[in-house]
């Protein structure tokens, strides 16, 4: 098979930690250098926590695997320093098309609104993302990635965790305050600790074929139900970088995985789909089944399970890797505050309170998509076909067609860290929502301004464009808060040079910022380090903001 990509081999290197009589201590150790484990490490570094990542392998993903990265994942990767490379190399897409038998049923746009820095989705082979992350880690101080290092024992003590690590030149021990478990769907650590991830196994098999071809197909997600070239099944087509196309055929439960992935069986399927004349080269094939399941809790004392180790979904909707990034985005700032003694241990319970419901939302959506794509009974298939027949002409039926509800970030509506609204807002930026984006200043973006891994405030200045002395005093004292100093942005200011340190003017170039936040004069938004809204008010009240900060850090 053709290869557009060569997997790098990362050298094992001996660590000084292996030569000390007592185990060396690190605040955070991450198990697993997949995208989510590396995101955990990079996020630790962004927060200022020294960290070590351990991986039992010495290369990146074999095969393209997770290819669709959603807007929110890109925004998180922007904060971790890898977003731009992803977008530069990846294929940007916003449009999806759904076909039934011979017909195009409808087209949908995942980002119908302009004025966002990042697109709805990019497609990129997982190995590129991992290579970028490895390179980013190498350039990051106080962050180390150790290859060929397998964790073989984990013991939780009163005030730390002790682990045993096996390497090509022997075993050694390490201790840490917190262990982040990112060792994937078949988590060895989960098994070692006798913890379960339970749910549903789907009785179906899917074939992935990555092919290299030059075509003029647009970069869109095309999904076929029961197409003439693959009757009775579904097919998905996605464009990746390097002219590689991901084609995914539903095979059914009775298919023989070893036979199906042989080129002599895959190529006829591809020719039926692409036409006899289309020239293509097969690059990678794989047959997979999937499960929808999760652990009961993701926090176990000083251990935190993230990504597929904690929860696993069907691939429809691209909710696997995309939700994993939201796990580490949620966790690391909390660990930082607790490690610094600026927040109590119980702040860490909010990881479960926020990410378990998020996992349930992903599980629900991906299970429903799977049920629509692969109906489990005759009547269920009849309803699906009826829906598809109506969808071409009658708009209501399009909302029922489910070829995958594509990953959107969870809103932590019921989080104990939120301060509920006291006033009315005409904005989706409710407490618990991840911040929306908007163009600001000269060619900059709002999310970039609050990508500093700190708590941020956004204040919409009074109509006259100047700040009164009491306002300046209130904002200034918030930037000097003893435990959680705020970084504050003020929109709608006339040019001025007498802003206190930590307070910056932001220019709402196109008025989009005010519109998306319903930013009437006097409005104040408080954002957490993961850019989720913690609270909002219609007037500037320092005491209320301080109370909300306490609540957002579980100090009250």
């Amino acid at each position: 098979m053709l290869q557009t990509h060569q997997n790098p081999v990362y050298a094992y290197s001996h660590s000084a930690d292996q030569d000390t009589p007592a185990p060396v201590h690190h605040p955070v150790i991450v198990v697993g250098a997949g995208p989510i484990g590396m995101a955990a490490g990079l996020d630790a570094a962004a927060q200022g926590i020294p960290a070590v990542i351990l991986d039992d392998n010495n290369t990146v993903s074999i095969g393209s695997r997770a290819v669709c990265y959603a807007k929110r994942a890109l925004e998180i990767l922007d904060r971790l320093g890898c977003g731009q490379r992803m977008v530069d190399k990846g294929i940007t897409w916003n449009l999806g098309k759904v076909f039934f038998r011979d017909d195009l049923v409808y087209t949908f746009n995942l980002l119908p609104e302009s004025d966002h820095h990042r697109p709805a989705f990019i497609n990129l082979q997982q190995y590129y993302l991992e290579e970028y992350m490895v390179e980013q880690i190498r350039q990051t101080k106080h962050l180390e990635l150790r290859w060929k290092s397998r964790v073989t024992a984990v013991a939780e003590k009163d005030d730390h965790v002790e682990i045993q690590v096996e390497t090509p030149d022997g075993a050694y021990r390490l201790t840490c305050d917190y262990l982040i478990v990112a060792d994937g769907a078949n988590s060895g650590i989960r098994r070692m600790l006798g913890l379960e991830s339970s749910g549903q196994v789907f009785q179906d098999r899917f074939l992935i074929a990555d092919v290299v071809m030059e075509t003029d197909y647009p970069p869109e997600r095309w999904f076929w139900f029961d197409p003439p070239f693959h009757q009775g099944g579904s097919t998905l087509l996605h464009r990746q970088a390097d002219n590689v196309w991901r084609i995914d055929f539903q095979l059914g439960w009775d298919a023989d995985p070893e036979e199906e992935k042989k080129p002599e069986n895959v190529i006829p399927r591809l020719k039926a789909m692409l036409g006899e004349e289309t020239e293509f080269e097969l690059e990678w094939t794989s047959v997979y089944t999937f499960q929808c399941r999760r652990m009961e809790r993701f926090r176990h004392g000083r251990l935190f399970f993230v990504g597929d180790a904690a929860h696993q979904v069907s691939p429809f909707g691209a909710r696997g890797a995309n939700s994993g990034f939201q796990d580490t985005d949620n966790l690391l700032w909390k660990l930082k505050l607790v490690l610094d003694g600026r927040a109590p241990q119980r702040l860490l319970d909010s990881y479960d309170a926020e990410r378990v419901p998020a996992a349930d939302e992903n599980l629900l959506n991906s299970t429903r998509s799977t049920d629509f794509i692969t109906p489990k009974s005759a009547v269920s298939r009849t309803f699906r076909d009826a829906t598809l027949l109506l969808a071409e002409e009658y708009p209501f039926a399009r909302t029922l067609v489910n070829s995958g509800r594509l990953s959107t970030p969870a809103v932590y509506r019921d989080s104990p860290l939120n301060t509920p609204d006291e006033e009315r807002f005409d904005s989706k930026m409710v407490p618990g929502a991840p911040s929306t984006d908007a163009p600001v200043n000269a060619g900059d973006w709002f999310l970039r301004l609050i990508a500093n891994s700190r708590f941020n405030g956004l204040y919409f200045a009074p109509t006259d464009g100047t700040l009164s002395d009491p306002e300046l005093t209130a904002l200034s004292s918030l930037t000097e808060h003893a435990d959680i100093p705020l970084n504050i942005l003020v929109a709608g200011l006339e040019p001025t040079d007498n802003l206190p340190a930590g307070v910056r003017a932001v220019s709402d170039t196109k008025g989009v910022l005010s519109k998306r936040f319903d930013g009437r004069p006097g409005t104040f938004y408080l954002f957490r380090p993961d850019q989720h809204v913690a609270a909002r008010w219609r007037s500037l009240d320092r005491q209320k903001i301080e109370a909300a900060l306490k609540r957002a850090t579980a100090c009250s």
Binding site: S377, V379, F383, L400
Partner: protein, 68 residues
Amino acid sequence: MIETRKLNVQPTLSRPDDFYNALVEMHRELSEEQSRLANAKLILLLANHIGDKETLEEALRIAAEGLN
């Protein structure tokens, strides 16, 4: 495509996936014959609720459209 005067074919369900799931769920423990009966009862219940003759006639025409 059949033009409709009274029948609303624009989306109105606030959570379409919830409804679709409930519909499929209703059938989960039913045999095929039981499912056919359940569907027939469902249509009769909804038709009575709608009540308007012209609306129902439009729906009947669209339902049979293109099937034979």
